[in-house]
């Protein structure tokens, strides 16, 4: 473990928790249909981003 990077790692983890708690609060006010739509919409956005990132990595390798 690089101790110099420890504060940044802890801050990063706290920010992740806060982001998830905020999202969790939003979820509790959503209907089932809204939750399903949100999950499918995020899944599509995730696929697009992963595709874009992997393509960028492949281009860098060439």
């Amino acid at each position: 473990m690089n101790f110099a990077e420890l504060p940044a790692t802890i801050t990063g983890l706290i920010l992740l928790v806060m982001k998830e708690l905020l999202k969790e609060k939003q979820r509790s006010g959503m209907s089932i249909d809204e939750l399903v739509e949100s999950a499918l919409k995020q899944t599509t956005a995730n696929e697009d981003r992963i595709k874009e990132l992997l393509e960028a990595v492949q281009q860098d390798m060439r």
């Binding site: 473990m1 690089n2 990077e5 420890l6 790692t9 990063g12 983890l13 706290i14 992740l16 928790v17 982001k19 998830e20 708690l21 999202k23 969790e24 979820r27 209907s31 089932i32 249909d33 939750l35 399903v36 949100s38 999950a39 499918l40 995020q42 899944t43 599509t44 956005a45 995730n46 696929e47 981003r49 992963i50 595709k51 990132l53 992997l54 990595v57 860098d60 390798m61």
Partner: protein, 152 residues
């Protein structure tokens, strides 16, 4: 530690809530998984060495989990009643969803054992490992939810 306590709290709420509203809990967990994958992509992009095998393997595993989550959500949607109050499956439907959930867990565990991933410095691995642990716990809760669903 803080993160683990928060996640444990969320999971306890999930399990407690599942008894009264399984379909909503299932949908919430599908949305949670999609969110964790998005967080994993952010971490893979910003914190893992660009173009490294570890980054590629992580993104590939996240892609597989994302696809699996999409399949589970689409499949489960068939069994939620129009008013969203009932979540009843056929035995075959339940088996299919459990099988897809199982493959999700296998994909996650394979990444955690991947040599390229394990070769990353601990501080680089910490955040992504934390997100992967959240994914594992959420998949486990989903298996429990589906197991408890009535079959027609």
């Amino acid at each position: 530690m803080i993160r683990q306590i928060a996640i444990l709290g969320l999971l306890l709420l999930t399990v407690a809530g599942s008894a009264c509203d399984k379909s909503k809990e299932f949908a919430k967990n599908a949305d949670r998984i999609a969110g964790y994958v998005a967080t994993g992509i952010d971490i893979a992009e910003k914190d893992l060495p660009s173009g490294s095998n570890a980054q590629i393997q992580t993104l590939t595993a996240l892609r597989a989990i994302n696809t699996i989550n999409g399949e589970i959500t689409a499949e489960a949607k068939k069994y939620i009643s129009a008013d969203g109050k009932k979540f009843e499956m056929t035995g075959a439907g339940k088996d299919k969803i459990l099988q897809i959930l199982g493959s999700g867990n296998t994909t996650i565990q394979a990444l955690l054992k991947n040599e390229e991933f394990l070769s990353l410095p601990a501080e680089k691995r910490a955040k992504i490992t934390s997100t992967i642990n959240d994914l594992t716990e959420t998949f486990t809760v989903m298996v429990e939810l589906v197991d408890a669903v009535k079959t027609k």
